[in-house]
Symmetry: C2
Subunit: 343 residues, 2 copies
């Protein structure tokens, strides 16, 4: 498979018996050269294992074959899972994904944007931090790089937004919980990092009002992305102090719910809809681990696959059409109720 190392395209062209510009053409699109030539080049490739220098290639192109992906916190399995799917799709489309995590840090998000801009990506998929994002930096970035915003909506940022239909999902869960028992208390952070949480809170309040129930917000005080810990501590407090006005708790997201379940277990409070349980707990997101909590967590699934697929679809259409979208289409994906043991 290999002989001597080849320095550059010039050398490789000589070895394959084809001129350099034609070889260059081949590497940009193998179909663009005649079959006979293609055979020659590919035969040479078998013996010499040459690949164009990626830096030289990118220097001479306005846009590269890179697609940037920024997520707010990669150690969160939710984003890890979405990133994984997006990467796979991007590779299948023949692009190279560049995955960056902001690790919950505003400055890192900004420098991730700067790093991507340098790389001249064909497009970027951006899931911003949300509340703590540097809005101006993001808007500037989106002016220069074709971007699709997903998960956390930053109004006006990017050419399109793909996110969750928090209203539909929240209504559905409240309806379910109320129909099968008591209306829920809402368990959340007072200052959540993610705007989805705000939408969910408002949807909770509106729905409860509409249904004629009195809402109750149980709020955690913490900051940051250590949501399980925040949920755990707050749940312990709320249960111990008997702060919950009903026997049903709707958590703003699954990670808080996981902390809640841990606290409940520790305090000997049995959770579930079965006999002998004193509390029901539901979550939101269908976290990869929600299937294995004790009890298994009733939650709302936001189809990972669809978010990934739709985002990549839009990005690809942007790249192909080579122009920005006129309006800013917003896709809100409906959630699906995942009924398990906890509620």
């Amino acid at each position: 498979m290999s002989d001597s190392k080849i320095r550059n395209m010039e050398e490789f062209a000589a070895l394959s018996g084809v001129s350099r510009p034609t070889v260059s053409k081949y590497f940009n699109d193998p179909e663009s050269v005649r079959a006979s030539i293609r055979t020659k080049i590919e035969a040479a490739l078998e013996h010499h294992d040459y690949r164009p220098n990626i830096f030289a290639v990118n220097q001479n192109r306005k846009l590269t074959k890179n697609i940037g992906i920024i997520v707010p916190y990669l150690a969160d399995p939710f984003f890890a899972e979405i990133a994984r799917r997006i990467e796979t799709l991007v590779i299948a489309e023949g692009f190279r994904p560049i995955l960056l995590s902001s690790h919950g840090d505003t400055n890192l998000e900004v420098s991730n944007l700067e790093a991507l801009r340098q790389i001249k990506p064909a497009a970027v998929l951006l899931a911003p931090l949300g509340r703590t994002s540097d809005r101006q930096a993001i808007m500037d970035f989106c002016d220069n790089v074709p971007t699709v915003n997903f998960d956390s909506n930053i109004e006006g940022a990017g050419e399109a937004f793909i996110g969750h239909n928090n209203v539909q999902a929240t209504e559905m869960m409240i309806e379910y919980l109320t129909r099968t028992g008591e209306p829920p208390v809402f368990f959340e952070m007072r200052t959540p990092p993610n705007p989805n949480a705000i939408k969910r809170r408002n949807a909770y309040l509106a729905t409860m009002e509409r249904m004629g129930h009195t809402p109750q917000l149980v709020q955690a005080e913490g900051e940051g992305w250590n949501l399980e810990e925040i949920g755990y501590e707050t749940a312990k407090r709320a249960i111990t102090n008997k702060e919950l006005s009903t026997n049903t708790v709707f958590c703003s997201n699954d990670r808080l719910a996981i902390g809640f379940l841990s606290a409940a277990y520790e305090l000997g409070v049995k959770v579930g809809h079965a006999e002998g349980c004193s509390l029901r707990v539901a979550g939101h997101d269908n976290h990869p681990f929600s299937r294995y909590t004790c009890p298994t967590l009733t939650t709302i699934s936001h189809n990972y696959d669809l978010i990934a697929t739709r985002s990549v679809e839009i990005v690809m259409s942007m790249i192909e059409s080579e122009q920005r979208l006129e309006e800013r289409p917003t896709t809100l994906l409906d959630g699906e109720l995942i009924m398990r043991a906890s509620a």
Copy 2:
């Protein structure tokens, strides 16, 4: 902060009143130019926001400021967490981390290696898939790129290895479990993807023998990285069929343990060392979620920070000394017993 866009270093040099070669020198090391010149350049930077074209820079350097990081499966919180720490350290050292996940796929691992090679990284931190890795491809890669192997040891690959002291950790846990109750059964996959698992199995067998207890392996048949599911299914089978010869289970890793706990809960088997519990379960890895399982998981912590810190340290010393290491130093980090409620 910004005026007109600057095309290249030539233009920026003109604006700052310094010659281009000197500006180039400045960007490679600001300390290498006279203070008066530095002031001029930095003053210009305030107004014009110019940064050297990364492709042109890298094309003209043998090595870049990139440091590659490859992990086998980023959606696994264990690797997500390690990757996060490594990234942070790498950035602090003034390098740019390029994080790639193999998503459990041999071919993707190989193409990740190829992608990195193209990028001419200063060094690479590689956590391979393990059993399913293409050993030859990895060895070839390591010949060409200075690499540090961590987590899964591929014998002879890379300039150094940093991993877990599986023997010490396993012995410690068995000793603890035996001292506080019955000796454990070992719960694992028959064909684990990761070589650590094999080391742990062997350490279990050896330690049990040495202590004069009869070992028992309870093995899951699954393949792949969906460990919680595999643990869950196998635990259900083992508990239902009463396959466990003692009341204590030592899981090869925390993700299997999480599945185990879920199954036990579902079957109404109380887990823990407290009164009224019929089973003890321990894990291995101190998975980020092991703190929130029900009951909280007794496990062995492999200091994330140390793995990340040591790996980056070695990489940096390799880069600075500009030469390969003579031998292949192997660092095995001792585990720490994390006593929680499950055992």
